[in-house]
């Protein structure tokens, strides 16, 4: 257990922070892509520990947060149908749609059930042949193999009463969109470790070369993130712009090939809106025509629902690094986890919720200290 004591030793974190500070001859601006990494950075206060050396912009890698409003509204329509059992990962239930959220639909009598895996939704369909079971297939490349397999199995087993409402997005087009933005400040990326567990990192090599931007595939523990930051800063200081892999224990260059193949068989690339950001060309996945029978949008004719975002929520500015959550006028007042204006305040991986919870935690700590 040589690694264990090292991992528990805060001296390792201090060593990494010192090395980042010594390496950085000027402040650098990095973006962590994944919401899981955002959660760790804010909770552990890594951004505060590195103030002046590295500024972290929290990227659009929380699937709940970037699911577009119109897909939520489609989910609300489907969930309200008496013939439908609507299934979803739990954190989608409180994402506000135009009028309400899935939890409110459930309170009014809609059959909305939380599942751990899309296969649980498929099993529910097999056990309830007189009902239509719809699964809300959201997520990045990490989740796409699971959702692809559920649809594949539905066809293989002949389950006609199962379908999926697809809102899948992919990371590389989002990184490209961020680099193309005229006011972009991001100088290096920490790529999402588990997305790359599936996909590998070959897609990122042309992006790093084209935009001359370092991209470091990074894990989720505080040590992983600090090491990823250090690798990115070393590249920036050395004038390099390569794809490097910090998350060696779980990521190989080619990814997990059978998972990639199944995703490719079931899904195809499509334009997709990102909540708070807008449409990014070829940034999403949709079902291939061979799987149209399991496409809830076709089955229930909700594909035409198009809505625009409310102006009150500035999620787009947060997701692109123009605004820090506490600087938003609505933060903690009109917008809280109990009454969220936007998705970033809902999910534990959302930047606004992460800041909200940590601020409350810290103020409670301060109050607990005897005067």
């Amino acid at each position: 257990m040589r690694f264990l004591s090292e991992y528990r030793d805060p001296a390792i974190a201090r060593t990494l922070i010192d090395r980042i500070r010594r390496t950085a001859t000027r402040p650098w601006t990095l973006m962590e892509v994944c919401g899981g990494q955002t959660h760790t950075i804010v909770r552990q206060g890594l951004d505060e520990l590195l103030e002046g050396a590295v500024e972290m912009i929290h990227g659009p890698g929380c699937p709940v947060c970037v699911t577009p409003l119109e897909q939520i509204d489609k989910a609300l329509v489907l969930a309200a149908r008496p013939d439908v059992i609507f299934t979803s990962f739990g954190d989608m239930l409180r994402v506000p749609g135009s009028d309400c959220d899935l939890q409110q639909v459930r309170a009014r009598g809609g059959q909305v059930r939380v599942v751990y895996s899309p296969l649980d939704a498929l099993e529910l369909a097999r056990r309830n042949p007189s009902k239509e079971v719809v699964f809300f297939a959201v997520g990045f490349e990490t989740t796409a193999p699971a959702n692809a397999m559920a649809v594949w199995r539905a066809r293989e087993l002949g389950v006609p009463n199962f379908s999926v409402l697809v809102s899948h997005v992919t990371v590389p087009p989002a990184i490209t969109a961020i680099m193309e933005a005229p006011d972009n400040r991001v100088q290096g990326f920490l790529a999402a470790g588990h997305v790359c567990s599936v996909m590998g990192w070959t897609e990122y090599e042309p992006i790093a070369a084209r935009y001359r931007v370092p991209i470091v595939v990074t894990g989720f523990e505080p040590m992983d993130i600090l090491e990823g930051m250090l690798m990115a800063v070393e590249q920036l200081e050395g004038g390099r712009h390569q794809v490097e892999n910090q998350y060696v224990r779980a990521v190989r260059r080619e990814g997990t090939v059978p998972a990639r193949q199944r995703v490719e068989e079931v899904f195809e690339l499509a334009d997709r809106k990102w909540r708070g950001i807008g449409e990014i060309p070829m940034s999403g996945l949709r079902l291939r025509p061979a799987f149209a029978a399991w496409d809830a949008e076709r089955k229930f004719d909700v594909g035409d629902i198009v809505v625009s975002e409310p102006a009150a929520c500035r999620a787009g500015d947060v997701l692109t690094g123009r605004l820090k959550p506490p600087d938003c006028a609505a933060f903690g007042t009109r917008c809280t986890p109990d009454h969220p204006l936007g998705a970033l305040m809902v999910s534990a991986e959302g930047a606004c919720a992460a800041y909200y919870h940590i601020a409350r935690h810290r103020s409670a700590e301060r109050q607990a200290v005897p005067a």
């Binding site: 751990y116 895996s117 990490t142 397999m149 523990e221 060696v248 997990t256 059978p258 998972a259």
Partner: protein, 86 residues
């Protein structure tokens, strides 16, 4: 070791620091067996993990008590794979 042939759909029991649950192993069936570590996301093993590194991560994660996360690294304890791949 229990094995199950379900139309080429490999599953197994994965131990997440004491919590055991059935996980789809189809994407890693050719490379994992009992005792291997896998990254699990929403009920699917999406990647095999280097064991020495995984043990380190596992201990850290257990210590941080995040067992409610959907995304987790666990140990395969009972593969049920078609054709004896595990």
């Amino acid at each position: 070791m229990e094995r199950r042939d379900d139309g080429g759909f490999a599953t197994g029991i994965v131990d997440f620091g004491g919590i055991r649950r059935e996980v789809c192993l189809a994407y890693v069936a050719d490379e994992v067996g009992v005792g291997d570590y896998v990254v699990v996301h929403v009920g699917f093993a999406i990647s095999k993990v280097d064991e020495a590194e995984a043990k380190r991560t596992f201990e850290v994660l257990r210590e941080m008590s995040q067992l409610d996360e959907l995304q987790w690294i666990g140990e395969v304890v009972e593969p049920r794979a078609p054709g004896g791949t595990a």
